[in-house]
């Protein structure tokens, strides 16, 4: 059932809730060692798809293989499978009466090959908070603890659902570096996020899901024909700010240099951002929160 080399392989996945079709036939292949981002508006089928891959939800039809295993697996075999994956859920707000160290050390006991507790706490930047009770942590610190619990079992495959919500910019950078280092050590990472800059910074490939189907799978740089899309050249002319969309910005700038003696005032050349392309793909009308 699984393609060789693929950590995740999905064919014709479908799932309905009552009369609502949440996932309407999805195919996906995620290779070992890549960071794969799933983008899509709320209600697009993103969460349902990921929760089926994580084994939280059953599917109506389709073939799904995650680490050569059907995620619907139960019992002892299910435990062995879960031992190989890490899941960071969207929001968990529990066990405020335990310290960071106690919590991570406890979760380490669930796994066959846990990582070092202190190392994991350090890698998420919580060493200084190690002995503090969880209820004294800020939102971003709690989130980093969630990540620590997701990676304590040294997973081969890590699911991250909106991992950096509530992070300050510095913490986000540090977090991105952590995720990249996990990828570089061979961990496959499936990321769902609302932050397009996060997908751009981290993902090797992105998939855009809308209305329960995959719109496109590509690298962040090539998604939606981004690399060849029109560029916008803006500058300050005598009559005020001007901008022009062109598929040949170099020629336009050459022309502008002739009409200005020195610097072209306030010159910028802007390619479509991942966000622009994404919003266009999902039809703009949908809430892209």
């Amino acid at each position: 059932m699984s393609d060789s080399g693929n950590v995740i392989s999905v064919r014709g996945l479908k799932k309905s809730y009552g009369s609502t079709q949440a996932v309407a036939g999805i195919d996906l292949s995620i290779a070992q060692g890549e960071i794969f981002a799933l983008l899509g508006p709320n209600g697009a089928g993103k969460t349902t798809t990921v929760e089926i891959l994580e084994g939280f939800r059953t599917r109506d039809s389709g073939d799904v293989s995650v680490l050569e295993t059907d995620p619907a697996i139960k019992g002892a075999a299910g435990r062995i499978w879960r031992n190989r994956i890490g899941i960071v859920l969207q929001s968990t707000s529990d066990a405020g009466d335990l310290s960071v160290q106690e919590t991570v050390a406890h979760f380490a006991k669930y796994y066959a090959n846990p990582r070092s507790v202190d190392e994991v706490i350090e890698s998420v930047g919580l060493t200084e908070k190690s002995t503090e009770l969880i209820r004294t942590l800020s939102g971003g610190q709690r989130r980093r603890l969630d990540v620590a619990l997701g990676i304590i079992g040294s997973p081969e495959l890590l699911f991250l659902d909106e991992p950096t919500t509530g992070f300050d910019p510095e913490a986000r950078r540090a977090f991105w570096a952590l995720i990249k280092s996990l990828r570089d050590s061979g961990t496959t990472i499936v990321l769902t996020t609302h932050y397009l800059d996060e997908a751009e910074a981290l993902a090797d490939r992105v998939a855009v899901i809308n209305h329960g189907q995959i719109v496109e799978v590509s690298t962040p740089a090539l998604l939606g024909g981004r690399a060849t899309s029109l560029a916008t050249v803006s500058w300050l002319s005598e009559s005020g700010p001007k901008s022009e969309r062109t598929d040949n910005p170099t020629a336009l700038i050459r022309k502008l240099t002739e009409s200005y003696s020195g610097e072209i005032p306030e010159l910028t050349v802007k390619r479509a951002s991942l966000e622009d392309i994404y919003l266009e793909m999902i039809g703009g009308a949908d809430e892209a929160e």
């Binding site: 939280f56 435990r79 879960r82 859920l89 968990t92 066990a95 335990l98 669930y110 796994y111 066959a112």
Partner: protein
């Protein structure tokens, strides 16, 4: 090649038990409520009803037996049926579901914390009873044996029924309103606050379906003189039947828990 031998369900369950005890002791409100409340009740009832029920048996003596049995229901059934929906709301359970921890370990952890709480509660109740209300401890080894299996089996049954009942509250916030009335009504019907044989017959018959009546009766067989057995409904302590009925409830609770346990609130 990594080895994939995950720790056994029992190993993880014991670790969970230790963690749950730690969490319990750090929640001051629940410590006070669970441990001090029964002593307060003993203080109130022991002061109000100072009469002797029969030769040498004070109401306090009768009441201590009822309070210990009642503690089994409070620390197990009530506590869990309220706490598990909260853990479900917080996403605690869903996160656990995503790890190699099996459901059995979660259940074992709950049994351990309930049992540990029960031991502390019984000790406090007995100490307060002896010091303030002249409660007598049983002297025969047979009675202590009955006491031991009542606490062990009672904790297990109460835990399994609490886990089974935890699917009923729709949310953590509403759980207390659903669970507490069940417990309070059972306490009145089962002869915790009043002498059981003084209750109307229909109340006794309803109570006889549920385990609390049997737990209180069992505890009376431990704390009251054997001559008092004549004043029970059946005229004896019915020790064997008590054991079987509590065991049956334990098995039923376990069976329902395994079949219906929910890791997350269905939306």
């Amino acid at each position: 090649m990594k080895q994939n031998k995950v720790p056994s369900a029992l190993t993880i369950g014991i670790a969970r038990g230790g963690l749950e005890i730690k969490q319990f002791l750090r929640q001051r409100e629940s410590v006070v409520f669970t441990l001090a409340f029964p002593i307060m009740l003993l203080g109130i009832f022991g002061s109000v009803f100072t009469n002797e029920l029969t030769d040498g048996v004070t109401f306090s003596q009768y009441f201590v037996a009822g309070m210990i049995a009642s503690g089994l229901v409070n620390t197990g059934f009530q506590q869990l049926a309220i706490m598990i929906p909260v853990e479900r709301d917080f996403g605690t359970l869903k996160r656990l579901r995503g790890t190699p921890m099996p459901a059995a370990s979660y259940f074992i952890g709950k049994v351990i914390v309930v049992f540990a709480t029960m031991v502390i509660q019984v000790l406090l109740l007995l100490i307060a009873g002896i010091i303030f209300f002249g409660v007598n401890l049983p002297t025969s080894p047979a009675k202590w044996l009955t006491f031991t299996w009542l606490i062990l089996l009672g904790s297990a049954a109460s835990t399994s029924l609490g886990i089974a009942f935890s699917v009923i509250p729709k949310s953590g916030r509403g759980a207390s309103a659903v669970v507490s009335p069940v417990v309070i009504v059972l306490q009145f019907f089962s002869g915790v606050f009043f002498v059981f044989t003084d209750l109307p017959a229909w109340m006794q018959q309803v109570a006889a379906i549920f385990p609390l009546k049997w737990m209180t009766q069992g505890m009376r067989s431990v704390f009251l003189p054997d001559s008092f057995a004549a004043r029970e409904v059946a005229g004896t302590w019915e020790t064997g039947r008590t054991f079987l009925i509590i065991l049956a409830w334990f098995i039923a609770g376990l069976f329902i828990s395994i079949r219906t346990f929910k890791w997350e609130q269905q939306k």
